[in-house]
């Protein structure tokens, strides 16, 4: 039976969920929290979003989405254009190339893999920014941000899993 117009629109909207949620994470990361110390380091929420969806719904988080999300983040935060885009592209490409490894793995394993993928991705951005400015960006800050992101992954991953369960289902 051919799906009706409404059904198709519904599916389309559900397929947009990963992109929109990651977009919201980027906006959330830019919101001033007024927490002491949190202005100097912020977790890389976009990295978590893109990684999660690339692992669990690679069909809904392609290279194009990762690139445009990264570019949006660069524009919003004032970071050098293209550096965030490159970081998220690298993330997606690693996950996509290792899809056999990620298939059906437990949460703990994907978290452990996130530590590796995130390290490479954050390192890439650090290198790109350092090259652009011709001056090594503060490695300590990047390290703290990376650890913060790693610590936040289980919580955010759980929330994203809820979103996947209720908003996307099998669409």
């Amino acid at each position: 039976m051919r799906p009706t117009l409404w059904q198709r629109m519904d599916t389309m909207a559900r397929h947009l969920v990963p992109f929109v949620l990651t977009l919201m994470l980027i906006l959330l990361a830019a919101t001033p929290t007024h927490l002491p110390g949190m202005v100097r380091v912020g977790p890389m929420l976009s990295l978590i979003g893109v990684y999660y969806w690339a692992v669990y719904r690679p069909d809904l988080m392609g290279y194009g989405s990762a690139f445009s999300l990264g570019l949006f983040e660069d524009i919003l935060t004032g970071a050098p254009l293209g550096s965030g885009a490159l970081m998220l592209l690298i993330t997606t490409s690693i996950v996509v190339s290792q899809y056999k490894f990620f298939n059906g793995k437990s949460f703990a394993v994907t978290w452990w893999a996130f530590a590796l993928v995130g390290l490479i991705a954050a390192g890439t951005k650090w290198l790109a920014v350092s090259l652009i400015y011709g001056l090594s960006a503060d490695l300590q800050t990047v390290a703290v941000e990376y650890l913060l992101t790693l610590a936040l992954y289980p919580v955010l991953g759980w929330l994203l899993a809820r979103a996947q369960l209720y908003l996307i289902k099998d669409a």
Partner: protein, 285 residues
């Protein structure tokens, strides 16, 4: 049946090739954007301001609960040390009253001397207050997005202040939002003077919370605790705006602790001193 699987396989292979091509093209595009951003064209800036303008309403909504949550936490924290705070304020008030007397005396003296010298007063300043809706810290950029743009009278190059001191300067203005480049950002360079000797130097950000002083004479004799204020050189900022204090002097590297507390920034003021800044007139448009 066999034919269709062959076709499917071919389709799959083609899709793989296309994907790989897309990845390469997008990585290439990232590098191209890095070069384009480095060239700092008008186009890049226009794109940045347009995007900031369009997401401003969302950021505005998001930043409100965050601000009220922070205010709540602050209120509870304030209650616990009310007594100590009161004692401290009483002492501070007494000290300030003494300073007020000194200041009044100096003001009168200044007035009298100026009238003797036929001194031309500096033009008065006008300011626009704007709410901070996005604050990006970290290793890669230090900037704020504020809710106020060219339609509110904020212009590129204006000094941005709070009651505590200099925050930064307006780097980009859209219609409704502006980007403030903080003094700690790697792209920030501000002419300052240091200590009682009023040594001239440039305060250069490094994307850390302690910017450093460069072009400071070797025999400047700067020590931790020296005050840092804008020097007014090059007409970018007026003279004497408070910036911070010297935090450390190690191996000739002088670092400054800004007065402004980043995590408390809620409302900032873009101040128009009628100065044109370092940039030529047309670049400000």
């Amino acid at each position: 049946m066999k034919q269709s699987t062959v076709a499917l396989n071919r389709l799959g292979a083609l899709k793989g090739v296309m994907q790989r091509f897309a990845l390469l093209a997008l990585v290439g595009a990232s590098f191209a954007l890095m070069l384009l951003g480095k060239a700092d064209t008008v186009l890049v800036e226009r794109v940045r301001t347009t995007v900031a303008d369009s997401v401003a309403p969302v950021l505005d909504v998001l930043s409100r609960p965050a601000a009220s949550l922070a205010a709540g936490v602050e209120a509870v924290r304030g209650l616990t040390d009310l007594y100590e705070e009161n004692q401290r304020l009483l002492e501070e008030n007494q000290r300030l009253l003494r300073w007020q007397m000194v200041a009044r005396k100096l003001e009168a003296e200044n007035e009298a001397l100026r009238s003797l010298q036929n001194f031309r007063p500096e033009p008065g300043a006008s300011f626009v207050s704007a709410r901070v809706v996005a604050d990006t810290g970290g290793a890669f950029a230090h900037s704020l997005l504020v809710l106020g743009g060219s339609s509110d009278g904020i212009r590129k190059g204006q000094a941005v202040m709070t009651g505590e001191g200099v925050v930064g300067r307006v780097a980009e203005t859209g219609l409704r939002t502006s980007r403030v480049l903080l003094i700690t950002d790697i792209n920030s360079r501000i002419p300052v003077m240091v200590g009682e000797g009023r040594q001239r130097a440039i305060l250069a950000g490094e994307n850390t919370d302690r910017p450093r002083l460069i072009y400071l004479p070797a025999n400047a004799g700067v020590v931790p605790g020296d005050l840092v204020a804008t020097s007014g050189a090059a007409g970018a900022f007026p003279q004497g705006l408070p910036v911070g204090v010297v935090a450390s002097v190690e191996d000739g590297v002088v670092r400054v602790a800004p007065y402004v507390q980043r995590d408390r920034l809620e409302i900032v003021q873009a101040v128009d001193y009628g100065l044109n800044g370092i940039l030529p007139g047309e670049a400000l448009e």
